[in-house]
């Protein structure tokens, strides 16, 4: 029996066991929406803006081990989705985005709602396809899911012209997929892994630096075993938080621009560095030349060869799936008799602890007059038992959450690290809540970021998503204001947020619960009350200290040891 392209697409999604599609209808996807209507296996979540559809699919994927799926129409539907796609690309989220396109005969004629979707998204997708023949839909969708999930994951766009979605052909979903030009890495080289084990055992000042690849590869258990077996200090990148439980005694905190003093100093002064699923980006190691001033041997495990030796020279590259490489490395270490030198390790830990003392840990001066944002996050951690799914937007609140919410498990921390997309938090939380029904989901945001996708409060109402929105409202675009204070002579150019809405009324207008919290003493009771409301979305407007800065801070372009600590408190 012959099916239409739209029917075939939906059948493909069913075959891939897609539970939710996040999307927004339009002219070019009418046939596809018609087929969605006729079945109930694939559920559709109607967002209020296409950017939110992609972020929701992103949150869905990051907080599970599934591929996120978004569906948008041609032209503005696709261009609105681009920020979401680029966000997913930078953080390697497995995702399939399906976009409608004008009919094949109209392509190139500047038709209504026509845009070159494949051209526009090319630099921010793992791969993309324009399907010109209905016979190719099934095989293309099969490839898209395979590409999205395998190797270094990423978003794959499939652009389907309207007429193709209405043409008919026989349907058969391919059982397997073979792309002759695509061979994702699997196991690492055994010789290199043995060599790495030797280097680690001989290290005097070893350091483990673990990134988002550990989370993506579901290798937290292996990383934790490795750290405990060797007894080395370990830091996580922003993307890697939760990869090692924050309560582990070997954890020295996050590193980088707003990392701890001890993490950054240990990174700078170690003699053997094991980098696992991390990419030495500018927010992590700052100035490359400064980083290279201290000689150290670097072992780099990554599934993407292009991540290795991109910014820093690497002595021992291991290309492979982090999960498999760590398994093999653990096997080698456990089968040998050698252990790290006890005296060297004691001396190194003494040094790390000295740095910890100098840095004074993560600290802020609490107040009984005005709410400190860090205090809100500490209380959030306490009240949720450290076990919530936390999404964020971008800015100071994001850094404070990374610092003060101690993540014990992977896939609980959902943030736009690479692209730094404001407006990510709320829609991402929707995806998280859809795939983790019943779980506690909080979106930590600011009064700037939340307004970038605030319309999604409507989606949350429609789908009864009891997300807790923790808005740290300081009346400023805080991170930009902080840079203006440090580097631009306190000239707060366009960072004061004038004419803010009444967020309590706004939440209520959307049918949710709104709370305003203005006194430090009210923070804990308010959070308790909000989280006790299991079935309500609660928008909490915390009025926080507008002068608070994020510390420590490595200024842009500076070296890791050129770190600014908190003012004398």
């Amino acid at each position: 029996m012959e099916l239409t392209g739209a029917e075939i697409l939906i059948r493909c999604l069913q075959e891939e066991q897609v539970e939710y599609v996040f999307g927004y209808p339009g002219g070019a996807v009418l046939f596809i929406y018609d087929e969605l209507f006729k079945q109930d296996k694939v559920k559709h979540v109607l967002v209020r803006h296409e950017q939110a559809a992609v972020h929701a699919a992103d949150g869905y994927a990051r907080s599970s081990d599934k591929v996120g799926v978004a569906l948008v129409t041609s032209g503005p539907g696709l261009t609105n989705a681009v920020t979401g796609i680029a966000t997913a690309y930078m953080d390697s989220t497995p995702m399939v985005v399906i976009s409608g396109q004008v009919p094949t005969g109209a392509i190139g004629e500047d038709a209504f709602q026509e845009v070159d979707a494949v051209g526009i998204t090319r630099p921010c997708v793992k791969h993309n396809y324009l399907v010109k023949d209905v016979k190719d839909i099934a095989s293309t969708i099969k490839k898209a899911f395979y590409l999205a999930k395998s190797g270094r994951p990423g978003p794959v766009l499939v652009d389907i012209p309207k007429d193709v979605s209405n043409h008919r052909t026989a349907f058969e979903y391919p059982a397997s997929v073979n792309i002759r030009s695509y061979h994702p890495a699997g196991k690492g080289d055994s010789g290199q892994i043995r060599h790495a084990a030797q280097m680690l055992l001989e290290a005097k000042r070893p350091m483990i630096y673990a990134g988002g690849g550990v989370v993506l590869s579901d290798a937290s258990a292996q990383l934790t075993d490795l750290v405990r077996l060797l007894g080395f200090p370990c830091t996580n990148t922003l993307m890697g938080l939760g990869g090692l439980p924050a309560s582990d005694k070997h954890f020295v905190g996050m590193l980088g621009m707003h990392g701890t003093y001890e993490a950054n100093m240990a990174m700078q002064h170690c003699d053997v560095l094991l980098a696992v699923g991390a990419r030495f980006d500018d927010r992590v190691i700052g100035n490359v030349e400064h980083f290279a001033e201290v000689p150290r041997k670097i072992i780099h495990i990554d599934i993407d060869p292009s991540s290795i030796a991109k910014r820093v020279k690497v002595d021992l590259p291991i290309v492979g799936d982090v999960n498999l490489v760590l398994d093999e490395l653990l096997g080698v270490l456990r089968s040998g008799r050698q252990v790290p030198g006890a005296a060297d390790m004691a001396a190194w830990w003494k040094q790390v602890n000295e740095w910890r003392a100098v840095g004074g840990g993560l600290r802020y001066k609490n107040s009984s007059e005005i709410i400190k944002p860090q205090f809100v996050i500490e209380k959030l951690h306490e009240i949720t038992g450290g076990d919530a799914f936390i999404t964020t937007d971008v800015g100071q609140h994001q850094m404070w959450t990374a610092q003060y919410y101690k993540f014990e498990k992977p896939r609980r921390w959902i943030t736009s690290g690479g692209l730094g997309t404001m407006g990510f938090g709320l829609p991402a939380a929707m995806g998280v809540q859809m795939v983790n029904p019943g779980a506690t989901v909080a979106c930590v945001t600011g009064e700037g970021s939340i307004q970038m996708n605030i319309q999604e409060l409507s989606t949350c109402k429609q789908f009864r998503l009891p997300i807790k929105i923790i808005a740290l409202n300081n009346g400023y675009l805080g991170m930009v204001r902080q840079w203006q204070e440090f580097f631009h002579g306190n000239r707060y150019s366009e960072t004061y947020m004038n004419a803010l809405p009444d967020f309590v009324k706004l939440a209520e207008a959307y049918g949710h619960v709104g709370m305003r919290v203005e006194k430090p003493a009210d923070v804990e009771p308010a959070l308790k009350e909000a989280f006790a409301r299991k079935h309500d979305l609660v928008f909490m407007d915390f009025r926080t200290d507008p002068t608070e800065n994020v510390y420590p801070m490595v200024p842009g372009g500076r070296g890791l040891s050129e770190i600014i600590l908190a003012e004398e408190l």
């Binding site: 494949v118 090319r122 002759r180 030009s181 292009s306 290795i308």
Partner: protein, 163 residues
């Protein structure tokens, strides 16, 4: 340093722009790029001439390999290889200059493939350097038009890039 990278990629719409886009997005140099289908019509062979530090060239190779459409890749300059480029150059050939231009074409083993009473069109195949050298000898004053294909490259002997 100058490198010649040769690759086989799926002969699909947009494949060329993936490569070209990669070079512009990441700020890599691109001196020339030539591409055409092979004996297997599903595959295109591309030759890219680029330059950069060893680290940049390593990244270019890795980034190209990462493109899903790229099936195989070789940095020809890392071993024995041959490089050829085709050039068509139209020159003003009048009076006494005609004889000299003809001799010059002969010296370079070029062929005059079109002539009028005041122009010659010379065809020359050779390395990029040889083509540069002929252009320099002729001089810009006499050159009316230059068309070059960009380099094509192939490995020597058993150095073969094939799927």
């Amino acid at each position: 340093m100058r490198h010649i990278i040769s690759l086989l990629m799926e002969n699909e719409a947009g494949a060329l722009s993936r490569v070209a886009g990669l070079f512009s997005a990441r700020g890599y140099n691109i001196e020339s790029l030539s591409v055409a289908p092979t004996e297997d019509p599903t595959l295109s062979r591309m030759t890219i001439v680029t330059s950069g530090s060893d680290a940049v060239i390593e990244q270019i190779n890795k980034q190209l390999n990462k493109l899903v459409d790229v099936a195989a890749l070789i940095d020809l300059s890392e071993g024995g290889h041959l490089e050829r480029e085709l050039m068509l150059v139209k020159v003003r050939a009048e009076g006494g200059a005609r004889e000299g231009l003809k001799r010059m074409a002969d010296t370079f083993r070029g062929r005059i493939i079109d002539e009028t009473d005041h122009t010659y069109t010379i065809e020359l195949t050779g390395s990029c350097a040889e083509l540069d050298s002929l252009l320099e000898k002729i001089g810009r004053d006499l050159i009316l038009e230059t068309v070059r294909t960009g380099a094509s490259g192939i490995g020597c002997g058993d150095r073969i890039l094939k799927l």
